[in-house]
Amino acid sequence: MKKSSIKRFLGLFLALAMILGMTACGGKKEAGGVDDDTIKIGVVCPISGNSAIAGKYITHGVEVVEEELGGKIEIGGKEYNIEFIYMDNEASEEKTTNVFQKLIEEEKVIAIVGPDMSKCALAGGPIAQKAGCPVVATFATNTAVTEVGDYIFRACFIDPFQGKMAAQYIWESGYKTTAVMFNNADAYATGLTDAFVEAYEGLGGQVVAKEEYSGSDVKDYNVQLTKLASSSPECVFFPNLLGELGLQIQQARAAGLTCPIVCGDSADTPEVGEVAGAAVENVAYVSAFSAEATTDAAKSFVEKYTAKFDGETPNSNAELAYEATQMVLYALQNADELTREGVRDALKEIKDLELPSGKMSMAEDRNPIKGGVVMQYDADGVSHYVSSINPN
């Protein structure tokens, strides 16, 4: 009996050693920065899971940069290899903390691009902050994201600004009453709704109906939309996720809501038009970027992107990923020294960087100072530039 339990103990010990051994085949390099003349940049986005579609565009956006660089970057007269490491976070907070640790501690990246969602940025942020690794979140619009610490930046505008943009556009278009339907289970939608309502009512507009639904799984919005229609609004605001908008627009039209529909920046993706079909006409959205912009930076980005991905027009997911990566590259080139700290300091100093969405500078609070645009879909599901809104 004694023997067998010792055997078992040994067995257990071996099993543990194996588990640890399995996990222990990692890097042994010094923390942070450049090694063997190779610079590594981490990219965190959802490759699988419900939001995998966003991950696809983010990957595309960064791949354009990758192609531009061709694996090499010149910094201060010296040429370095540059490598992008894509990590799937499944749009989950838990996995985001895992991949942040992996990128920071094991891959020794100098900076991280992404994640795209506020919730993931909020979970990963403290880890990066503690380890001192700069992060440029792409699409994380929640105000709190950059408040985590001085290593956390973002490429997009924040909820209050986006809400204000939408409110301003609706108000200035002459619509005095608006109805809202939003996903009360989603941080993006609730945040944007609150910001919008505050700004719109501040301007003197009236929110005549506010209906909610819970979660991306429920695709039946008929009841809510019938109620919205019965309040006969002049305009409807849908601050929801891209996987939901197509059906919402379609069902809204079917429920008799013929008025203009305004959405948040998540509507900037071809799937919305594809799913909604002809119903997408007269749907406007606020966005960080217009593919019709005429600046050199924008034109060259759209050209390269379209060429690389079979005529696909870049959307703001892709564009923001591109911009976030460009911001990191700019910081690398302007850093006093090639360390994470150096990159962070350089990110703080970004001024008048030419990006596809226009000239961008970094504000004190690590949010970019940049304007937005209002876009509108035509009946074919192609979006066109309507107007620009400047910061402040």
Partner: protein, 334 residues
């Protein structure tokens, strides 16, 4: 005999301490890093969740599929204590108080849902627990002071691998003791034959409730630890998908075996991380591995097995064996 007993008493503590020291040492020399640390922390939390689910599903024979609901209540309960009530007190006691509060929050919810519904059987009970998980999630979204759907931000990162291993070991220790006590025997009796258990004077409702509440409490504590690892929680983090994860860990490890819960939760937490080199195909391959495991070891990886220190044999009750000559050393498969 004496020597062996002594070894046995310190077995679990020694193993856990060893893991901790090993990880710390490996981190110290740079072989292991924060990534492994992070994954092991989640593994520890998942072990607690799986072991507690095992108490309900594996040992008491009930069918709960909303375990993440208890976890979320624990996470929120603990986070409210540490980041709202005692926002400016940075102390271990606040952390522990938070965990206990989380545990009680989950346990009270367990009582509320268990009292009316534990008379339901099998899949009907399962549906109620699923509904319970969804209701908790839906209601947490609507409570604005704790952030609603936007979640709770800035929960202090009190939990580290040491704490998690400590609570994990404590959980396993307590559960092992419980299972080898009149309570645990009553649970197993209910699982094996509810009619007979009832006829033998076991108040089945009471014992089901006990099992349910203890499991909820542990899930609550695990949720509290989770909140303090991840520092940001939001209701959708605790969806049915998460409950299903724990079910998978439980049955892949082997239900009715605490060792199985440890092995299942650990391996299946590590596996998807280990498969990261597969990029796009990662989860598809993970699914295939899971199916193969179930096909080739369908009682679970450790089904019917229990490590020596995870069980208590009858003979151990005797310092000097009373029936020793007759019974000692015979068939001891438990």
């Amino acid at each position: 005999m004496k020597g062996k007993k002594w070894i046995k008493a310190v077995y679990p503590a020694a193993v856990v301490a060893l893991i901790y020291l090993l990880v710390t040492a490996l981190r110290g020399v740079g072989i292991m890093n924060g990534y492994y640390n992070q994954v092991l922390m989640f593994a520890g939390i998942n072990i607690m969740m799986t072991a507690s689910l095992n108490l309900v599903n594996g040992f008491t024979g009930q069918f709960c599929i909303g375990h993440a609901g208890f976890m979320s209540l624990g996470a929120y309960g603990a986070a409210v204590v540490t980041s709202m009530l005692f926002k400016n007190t940075d102390s271990v006691f606040v952390f522990l108080l938070g965990l206990v509060a989380g545990g009680f929050a989950a346990m009270i919810a367990g009582m509320l849902i268990g009292l009316p519904s534990l008379k339901l059987k099998g899949d009907y009970l399962a549906i109620v627990t699923l509904a319970f998980g969804e209701i908790v999630r839906a209601l947490l979204r609507l409570v604005k002071p704790i952030g609603g759907a936007r979640g709770m931000i800035g929960i202090p990162g009190y939990a580290n691998l040491g704490w998690i291993l400590f609570f994990m070991a404590l959980t396993l220790f307590l559960l092992r003791n419980l299972i080898h006590s009149p309570f645990g025997r009553a649970f197993i009796a209910i699982r094996d034959n509810e009619v007979a258990a009832d006829a033998m004077g076991i108040n089945t409702t009471k014992y089901k409730m006990t099992s349910f509440c203890i499991a909820a409490f542990i899930a609550g504590v695990a949720g509290g630890l989770y909140a303090h690892v991840i520092s940001f929680i939001q209701p959708d983090n605790f969806s049915f998908t998460k409950s299903a994860d724990f079910l998978v860990y439980l049955y892949a490890g082997g239900s009715g075996s605490l060792t199985g819960s440890v092995v299942g939760a650990t391996l299946l937490t590590i596996l998807p991380e280990f498969l990261r080199f597969l990029a796009d195909w990662r989860l598809a391959v993970y699914a295939v591995i899971l199916v193969l495991v179930m096909l080739y070891r369908s009682e679970g990886l450790c089904g019917g097995l229990e490590l020596p220190f995870m069980r208590i044999r009858r003979q151990e009750l005797y310092e000097e064996p009373l029936f020793g000559k007759k019974t000692k050393g015979k068939g001891e498969q438990a």
